[in-house]
């Protein structure tokens, strides 16, 4: 039985794993990187348990740096003892230190409604409702009132989610239901209203369409159980012996799925897939076999396996993952194959960056990171060659380097089941991201041709669109806040639910900034949260996409913050910079904007700007104060001009928007 499907990309655990855990326990500080490395292997229940012990020790002595802390409430209608430590171990793989607060056995629905319940008392970051069909329906039932039965179950789960959200700041994770393999009629069960198969299918439909809204995430247990096999998943012997809700060999996989959702919630999903060429996206070695000798055609089993990899990569690109090439090859020959081979699915324009040369791969990956302004920790490097994988893994531990088997048939499955790019939302920005990066390359070309910076910026014909406390766009706003690491002044993370809840507090102001230019729509590129205190506005959060660096967008944003602040009667702005190991870029952000240093210690610097009599600084960006979404919710309509701010910028000739 293949239980490792989904974590088979991880290398096997070191033989002296327990000793290595003990070594970490002896470290004075900063055990995080080592714990993460230990977690990044295939671990069974015992190894996960051992690792969780080390993580708990590290938490106890405050030595988990540089990992991110996260508390997870766990409600289940079964025994969760093995699950808790597995969740802790799996989350460390994604750089997250989880503390699990489990509801006592048997306490499920009560946990949501009693404000003193174990979970609500802790106000965790997220609450996982690990409820299977037994929490809602009886075994072997054929319900007489099937529709009401589903409605009742949906009402129960929705009420729980609602109550948890009202009483805490938590994101809620719900599970789809998988019916057990036992059948009343047999194949007819799927047609008989009221059978478990029928009830679970309707429940899942309503759960995903009606209950799962902002702040609610779904763990698709039905598909996890199906991928393992329901007769293995529902292990009667473990259920009767100890109320273990599913076969315990699957616990590491289940924990991995939960960890992926948490990592995505915290913006730690990867963003870029870097592909090798020879024997990774085509069969053969183009330098030796020539373009015509490559195995890449329909009807050839080997060729079809590689076409499968390319189709999978293209699907990822279409949902917002950037693709890049990193290959040791003669550049001309390899590029010619990408461009001209009749069967290629991926073409040059599908790649946001291409590095084809004889340098070592780690250096090339660093070059790609530079070119895309993205961190190495957002990279997945896909290469058939174990030597190259080992070199990258040891030189650049931040890069995720999946293990690949010798058989290329497995490549696409590993790519699409390993959760590197786990997503919890799909925004308009995701849909067009690849094009935005292509447009960025064109901007760079233009910059190379312009004589001076100001001239270049003017030639971009930029327009910023500001939306203060608007009614839409919050999914992308949350994505920006959780994914931005470099241009992020305070690295405060808020979930979409928390951001939506801010609408109820009149002292909180949320500013969305979108940027258009002659090359296209850059999408929402900046998120600001301000808190108004008496006559001072405190800038709680300022994050910006690194794609729009050095374009004076931050000055335009400051102008807009001050315009709103002074209109509301504020006399000063306070800004805070909290250093992390990722945001050196903005250390002097407030100094550059003319703020004065108020206070400084190792945790933060605080800055003040007097805004009485502030005059908006000129920027080569036209300003529009609100956008008008189209009926489809898309934001690609041309922004409305606000005159007089910038006489030198023309807003005409905005074709294609």
């Amino acid at each position: 039985m293949s239980m490792e499907n989904g974590v088979s990309y991880l290398p096997p655990k070191p033989l002296n794993f327990r000793q290595l855990c003990a070594d970490v326990d002896a470290m004075e500080t900063r055990r995080g990187d080592r714990l993460r490395w230990l977690a990044s292997h295939q671990l069974d229940n015992n190894a996960l348990h051992r690792l969780a012990t080390s993580i708990e020790k590290a938490i106890a002595c405050g030595a988990t740096d540089p990992l991110t802390s996260f508390t997870l409430g766990l409600v289940s209608n079964g025994t969760t003892d093995l699950l808790s430590s597995a969740l802790v171990g799996a989350a460390a793989r994604y750089g997250i230190v989880v503390s699990v607060i489990a509801s006592p056995f048997g306490v499920t629905f009560q946990a949501a409604f009693d404000s003193d319940s174990t979970i609500l008392a802790e106000n965790p970051d997220a609450i996982l409702l690990a409820l299977d069909y037994r929490a809602f329906f009886a075994d072997y039932c054929v319900s007489a009132n099937p529709t009401q039965e589903v409605d009742r179950a949906i009402a129960e789960i929705a009420e729980m989610a609602k109550s948890f959200m009202a009483k805490s700041r938590s994101s809620i994770i719900l599970q789809t239901l998988q019916a057990p393999p036992e059948r009343i009629f047999g194949n007819f069960d799927c047609r008989q209203p009221g059978s478990l198969a029928w009830l679970c299918a309707r429940f899942n439909e309503q759960l995903t369409s009606e209950v799962a809204r902002a702040g609610v995430l779904v763990l698709d247990v039905a598909s996890l159980a199906a991928s393992i096999g329901t007769s293995k998943w529902y292990d009667r012997s473990h259920w009767f012996a100890a109320r273990l809700p599913f076969c315990q060999e699957a616990v590491p996989l289940y924990a991995e799925q939960v960890a992926r959702i948490i990592s995505s919630l915290r913006g730690k999903s990867r963003k870029v897939l870097i592909l090798d060429l020879d024997n990774t996206i085509w069969g053969g070695i183009v330098g030796d076999d020539g373009m015509d000798g490559l195995r890449l055609s329909q009807g050839d089993a080997i060729g079809e396996a590689f076409l499968d990899v390319q189709r999978a990569a293209l699907a990822l690109k279409r949902r917002g993952v950037l693709l890049a090439v990193c290959s040791k090859n003669n550049e001309q020959i390899a590029r010619a194959a990408i461009r001209d081979h009749a069967d290629m699915i991926l073409r040059e324009e599908d790649f946001a960056a291409i590095q084809i040369n004889w340098n070592d791969k780690a250096s090339n990956l660093e070059a790609i990171a530079e070119q895309l302004s993205l961190g190495l920790d957002s990279f997945v490097f896909f290469d058939d060659n174990p030597m190259e994988r080992a070199q990258v893994r040891s030189t650049l531990p931040q890069v995720c380097v999946p293990e690949l088997p010798a058989n290329p048939t497995e490549y696409a499955r590993i790519l699409m089941t390993s959760g590197f790019f786990e997503g919890i939302s799909f925004t308009d920005e995701d849909r067009i991201r690849a094009e935005q990066y292509t447009a960025n390359a064109r901007r760079q070309t233009l910059f190379a041709k312009s004589r001076d910076m100001q001239g270049f910026l003017r030639s971009l014909e930029m327009t910023a669109v500001f939306t203060m406390n608007g009614s839409s766009g919050w999914q992308r706003f949350a994505q920006l806040i959780n994914k931005s690491n470099q241009f992020n002044l305070t690295t405060r993370r808020y979930t979409e639910g928390e951001i939506l809840a801010m609408a109820d507090d009149p002292r909180i102001l949320r500013l969305q900034v979108k940027l258009f230019d002659r090359f296209g729509d850059n999408g929402m590129i900046c998120a600001i949260i301000c808190r108004a205190e008496a006559d001072v506005w405190e800038i709680d959060t300022w994050v910006m996409s690194c794609r729009v660096l050095s374009r004076q967008v931050e000055v335009a944003v400051l102008n807009e913050i001050i315009r709103n602040a002074t209109r509301a009667g504020a006399r000063g702005l306070i800004g805070t910079y909290k250093p992390t190991d990722r945001n050196e870029l903005v250390r002097n952000h407030y100094a550059r904007l003319g703020f004065e240093l108020l206070a400084s210690d190792e945790n933060e610097t605080r800055w003040h700007l007097d805004v009485t009599g502030y005059k908006a600084r000129p920027v080569p960006i036209a300003i529009s104060a609100e956008h008008q979404p189209t009926a489809s919710g898309q934001t690609i309509n041309p922004p409305r001009e606000i005159p007089n701010r910038l006489a030198e910028v023309r807003l005409t000739e905005r074709q294609g928007l």
């Binding site: 327990r18 069974d44 229940n45 015992n46 190894a47 348990h49 051992r50 012990t53 003892d81 093995l82 292990d235 012997s237 009767f240 012996a241 100890a242 273990l244 315990q248 060999e249």
Partner: protein, 80 residues
Amino acid sequence: VTKDAVLSKLPEIFRDVFDDDSIVLRDSLTARDLKGWDSIANIRLMLSIEQEFGFRFAVGEISELRNLGELVEAIIRHVG
């Protein structure tokens, strides 16, 4: 499967479950003799044995085992 074959695999399972390399197994060993052998550790232990030897204990079987010797006999019954 002989008793020797079972006994050759069992110590490593125990050491893994209890994270203790000093464990030495003997027939008369019971849960009271090992630090940390609580009900949760027992689940992990039985699961590790089931995975290693590729069988499932029958319902009620585990609770009737009185010491390690009887556990070894049960394993041999299943995989023998």
